[in-house]
Point group: C2
Chain length 567, copies 2
């Protein structure tokens, strides 16, 4: 492509709204254009890279699944059938935009954020017998999600490209076999995208589909929104939400037990402030929260200061479907105090108290006194508070925490989820009453898995990983062009090299502008094409070849150039 | 592909809801699957054809424009800027689908039905100088339109694939040059898609953008929703909406003028019923409609019985921005009669009467008498009704009408619009205040054109044109596969031919099912792959090769087969 054929020139200053590295650089180099928060147009360079990413995904997926192209609009009834029309918190729907449109058709459609609700009844029309399974379909398509914040460029968008696959199986074992195969397919894809060495498979929540974990493919980049807890010795990797965590010990074994006292601290309800006021370590404070379950029972959950309660973990421990923080009124009724002073001492017997393991192994610790403005200090296990039958783990894991199995401190890393595979089991087949007939003609439950990868997000992740201070840097197989040609004197050499490289089947960007050399070099660095080929009076009949990632240039002939870049 | 790799088998009976030939056959052969009216999933075979159509469009468009990929969601402000948020009658918008989603982001977006509102401000950010123009961008993308009815399969969908291009120019002349070039590009595309000989360029309305015509590319097929009026001698072709029309003469020149009479016909307001009642030809009746303009003026429009008034034509003649049928109350006030008895005789002077040319050249004709239940009969020009200064053409053209320039009866054909090119002039650049600086640094208006082609609609049109009683028929370059292999004895021959053809780079569908030969043959005809290759005990070491469009089979060797299908 000639530089001047592309109306979307590089930009000097980008909007201060674009805070992430990928959004900033991709906008500056005119790969993408933000239309509104989280919604990006792909400009010519960006579309070229996106197409290469999707081609690689397609090539690998074609080995294990068959491609279809489902619709973005869904009849509402499909989402009503699973009940998810009310629960998927990123779901959007359509309405006629004006009266004239409403006069034509008043139907409201769901704008699919994912396609379980489409693919399950679709496959149900075609496959009924044990002979028809296993099977897997996939598509690459634009998805729509009503994300709350969209500040990380292509890493989280309201409209984005997605490859989603859905598999159907006769047994959980067959699902597992296919699922394991898909892990390999995914790692092959990430390797081909240049992310193999920085992408790990992390265990994540199986949601309400299964007690099993789902698996996330996480690329370790600073801009990532996810936090991984990695066990170095075993390479086991957890998303924060499911990381089993043990709090570091306090080293207060040798402390003397002090006298338990009630201390008045007016309005002291934050643990940091409270610790300062009481002149104790924050870890000696205790946060006790009251929750109400779906059956109306109230429970208390205590963690040590500095930790938050992970409600998903707690729900499973309590065996509750939902947990809601108790209202200020309910707290007052139970504890006889305002919110902020609840503690495990002297709670009514009806309130079961769950203790996180971080509250154990402490001496002389603080608890709320169940009395407005008052805190019990120098509380000690057994003497003041009976040891519970069991300590649990329901805290939000944090840096410094220990993996209980091996006693290692976790390696904690920021990462971006680039893929996710999910054993759906019978969640959707049951919702649509989709079963199959086995060899004996007996109805059997059907098992499903789903498998997602976001091509546009991957593009952003690749930028986050590879770009440097001067601009974008692309793996050679993904770059929009292989060679960036600059002819400083703007003679015919540039045109000649451009044509000859193209004739050799090489993708070339030729900066044919009438512009300063410095501007052309800066743009070449910003755009990030792997090879820069410069000709000028100084280079004679040779070409100055430099890789984007190297500081060293060398003089080569055109034939050598072609050999080098096609090697 | 092996037949059994595709879970989407052919279907015996399709829903009676699918009435069009393309929807019926494409569903039966499992190329597409209707999710809800006008919304279709592309199954593997269908996606293969769609991809081939889009590839051809892309190859030709790349010669004249640069590809981008804009977004489906648009901020509302873009559509408010042009005012089209309230007027585009197929426009949809998004809303959060549930309370949890609304809690995250309450923004409502427009779901783009076309992209002038996106592309104009986008280009405005990048191009400002005379040096930057002309330029043209295009995309291939899913579009959303809230169509009122969606009964013609892929010919009219609520969600469909579209190629849309937008060009920007410094002058109307430059726009015209590019526009004419695009006509050639389009005809090349239709030729490559096998539609060249049945696709014509028709003149259509320029909408409110321009007094010029826009140009539609219309493929003549019975299932088409449009009606073309073709002038045989000049090949000129009009969409019905803009066809200049002259009504055929009545041949009543030799009739004697009869005495004008008022006849009572209680409740006779339909022209067919009235003609029967009066025992005259329907062409002797006159339909007089009263309209109110945006300034509150009332006008009357008279056409002869059997014609309808084309309000778009009439608006231009009257010079009105809007025309509304007068209310029953207003009609009564002006004509002193109920609706249905208005006529040009004795109307108040304030009501200007426009006569369609179909009302001229008649003797002894009927008009409403402006008196409830009464009709004036045997009305004659000059004697009873002064000849107007001018007769106009504001009727809806119909079969049998004459092209006034040459006096030929139109050739009237049903057709489907497969492409549309539109001189937008300054409509959108003005709305966004998008100008450029000329060589003298002076601000100048910018001219735009837009150019659409619907790949998924084209797929439907190709079916309408080529399919036969036995099933689908594909042009060779668009077929999902080139050869359909059937091995009747299910020996290893099928597998061997399949592998060898694939190795030769030929796209093959191998029916590897354990099924009856008759079923396989019927499916081969239904799926419509161009070449069928059958091996059985009878064919010996040869292969029975038959083209889908031929009844004759011949025995060939594998090498001959490869030569034949790659020729």
């Amino acid at each position: 492509m000639k530089f001047t054929q592309n109306p979307f020139r590089t930009i000097k200053m980008v909007s201060s709204e674009l805070v992430s590295k990928n959004a900033k650089l991709l906008t500056q180099a005119s790969y993408i254009h933000q239309e509104v928060a989280g919604i990006y147009t792909f400009l010519p360079y960006g579309l070229r890279v996106l197409n290469k990413i999707e081609k690689i995904i397609r090539e690998e997926m074609d080995k294990v699944a068959i491609e279809v192209y489902m619709t973005s609009l869904s009849p509402k009834k499909n989402w009503e059938q699973t009940g998810r029309i009310n629960t998927v918190d990123v779901l959007m729907k359509t309405e006629p935009a004006n009266a004239a449109s409403a006069a034509k058709n008043t139907t409201s459609y769901v704008l699919n954020s994912t396609h379980e609700e489409m693919v399950t009844p679709l496959i149900q029309e075609f496959a009924h017998s044990y002979k028809d399974f296993p099977l897997c379909v996939y598509q690459i398509q634009t998805k729509f999600r009503n994300e709350p914040r969209a500040k990380t460029g292509l890493l989280r968008c309201r409209e984005f490209r997605m490859k989603d696959a859905y598999s159907f199986h006769r047994s959980p074992e067959n699902l597992q076999t296919y699922y394991d195969r898909m892990k390999d397919v995914y790692m092959t894809i990430f390797r081909r995208l240049g992310l193999g060495d920085s992408t790990v498979m992390a265990l994540a929540s199986g949601g309400d589909f299964t007690k099993d974990f789902s698996h996330e493919f996480q690329t370790i980049v600073d801009a990532g929104e996810d936090t991984l807890f990695i066990v170095k010795s075993t390479k086991l990797c957890f998303n924060r939400e499911v990381a089993p965590s043990q709090a570091p010990k306090l080293n207060d074994d040798n402390e003397e037990m002090k006298t338990m006292t009630e201390v008045e601290g007016v309005g002291m309800i934050g643990v940091t402030e409270l610790a300062k006021f009481l002149n104790i370590a924050r870890e000696k404070t205790t946060k006790t929260l009251l929750f109400v379950t779906e059956t109306g029972d109230t429970i208390a959950a205590a963690v040590r200061g500095g930790y938050a309660v992970d409600e998903e973990k707690l729900k499973k421990i309590v065996g509750a479907k939902t947990l809601k923080l108790a209202s200020a009124e309910a707290v007052k009724k139970i504890t006889q105090a305002e919110v902020g002073y609840a503690g495990p001492l002297n709670l009514p017997d009806s309130v079961k108290v769950f203790f996180d393991e971080s509250t154990s192994n402490r001496k002389n610790f603080e608890c709320g006194a169940n009395k407005t403005h008052f805190h019990s200090t120098n509380v000690n296990w057994e003497r003041d508070l009976p040891l519970p039958e069991k300590f649990y783990d329901f805290k939000v894991a944090k840096e410094g925490d220990i993996y209980p199995e091996t006693g290692e401190v976790y390696d904690v890393r920021k990462a971006c989820e680039v893929g996710n595979i999910f054993p759906l089991h019978t969640k959707f087949s049951k919702a649509f009453d989709f079963t199959y007939l086995d060899e004996q003609g007996k109805t059997q439950p059907l098992y499903m898995g789903c498998y997602g990868i976001g091509p546009s997000r991957l593009l952003g992740v690749i930028v986050e990983k590879y770009a440097d201070a001067k601009g974008l840097v692309w793996p050679k197989n993904l770059a929009p062009f292989t060679v960036h040609v600059i002819d400083i004197q703007q003679n015919d050499r540039g045109a000649e090299i451009y044509q000859k490289l193209q004739a050799a089947g090489i993708e070339v960007l030729w900066d044919d502008r009438d512009a300063r050399a410095g501007e052309k070099f800066a743009d070449a660095d910003l755009i990030g094409v792997p090879y820069r080929a410069v000709v000028s009076e100084k280079t004679g009949d040779k070409i100055e070849l430099k890789e984007r990632t190297s500081d060293n240039a060398e003089l080569v002939s055109l034939d050598e150039l072609i050999q080098r870049v096609t090697a």
